[in-house]
Symmetry: C2
Subunit: 153 residues, 2 copies
DNA sequence: CGAAATTAGTTGAGTGTTCAACTACTGCGC
DNA sequence: GCGCAGTAGTTGAACACTCAACTAATTTCG
């Protein structure tokens, strides 16, 4: 390997560590709150949200995986649990016999509706309230750039 | 509950989702790269980093937990694995008989030294390269504010 | 058409994380 | 100095995630 590592300078070092600390703390906190108040991890909550916004509250497994940021395997396992809880049902896809459609049940919708206010309050308290309007705009731009770049990686 | 939920407006909604997508993708990517190239998850890497920077490459379990952003339980489990791998050793604390001191072995240090360049390259590629200098400065400020707020939560 | 490559989704084993319960020790308050 | 609240760390069980291997259906294209 002839290429020298481009190490992080002290400023970058601090930025990276601050980001790591903040995003980990934020996610851990929201996850803990959701687990405590709604008995589900944040990943499951997000699956329910995506389903609730889909037409007919139905989504193909692969689209659901994509939109909720899960791997297919993770989603399979998760939906199995959500189905056992009665919040989601699987249906066969009429146009592709390999396909499965996840369908948010009324129970699942009710569960989500009950969990949402507390969770949104948490997002507000831990993310938006501490930042001013300019920082929020910056954060959005930064996140979009990073997400875009990572999508094609 | 008489207080109405302060829902997220469309802008906040998009900001929150972009942040979620970006930070998840970033962490997942770095975790996968580290697992592939060094055979360890990011959480373990960070434990080794903190130990490597401590005087004598030694740290009390609780300080290590604090500085690496782990719960005590998580750290106990993690150090058990790192010890099995021969990268860390536990020692009794001379001043407090409840205490344990984690000590980075030479093997552990070598392992870390081997893993670091690739990981730093990944952080650069996925985080710093896509952002301009101003955005990096903003991200640092934002992260510091959030981390500070979450610490006292 | 028909074989090969691709895509959809699941599964199980292995690993990591959480939570609550537990032991052992320390240090405060009296 | 004694009792008791708090601190340090570990443990096991339940749960979640990853990876690779797998089945089955579909698409591609010679």
């Amino acid at each position: 390997m002839l290429v020298m590592t481009r190490w992080l300078d002290p400023d970058e070092q601090r930025t990276w560590r601050a980001f790591l600390t903040a995003s980990r703390a934020l996610m851990d906190t929201l996850d803990r709150e959701l687990q405590r108040d709604a008995g589900m991890p944040h990943a499951y909550y997000e699956i329910l949200v995506r389903l609730s916004e889909a037409p007919g509250r139905r989504l193909r497994m692969s689209e659901l995986a994509e939109s909720s940021g899960s791997s297919r395997s993770r989603l399979s396992h998760a939906v199995a649990r959500l189905e056992a809880a009665g919040w989601v049902r699987r249906e066969d896809c009429p146009t592709d016999r390999r396909g499965q459609i996840a369908h948010l049940t009324d129970d699942g919708f009710a569960k989500l509706a009950a969990a949402a206010p507390g969770h949104v309050e948490g997002v507000r308290r831990h993310l938006f309230d501490p930042l001013d309007a300019d920082q929020v705009a910056q954060l959005r731009r930064i996140s979009e750039v990073l997400a875009e770049r990572l999508r094609s990686a």
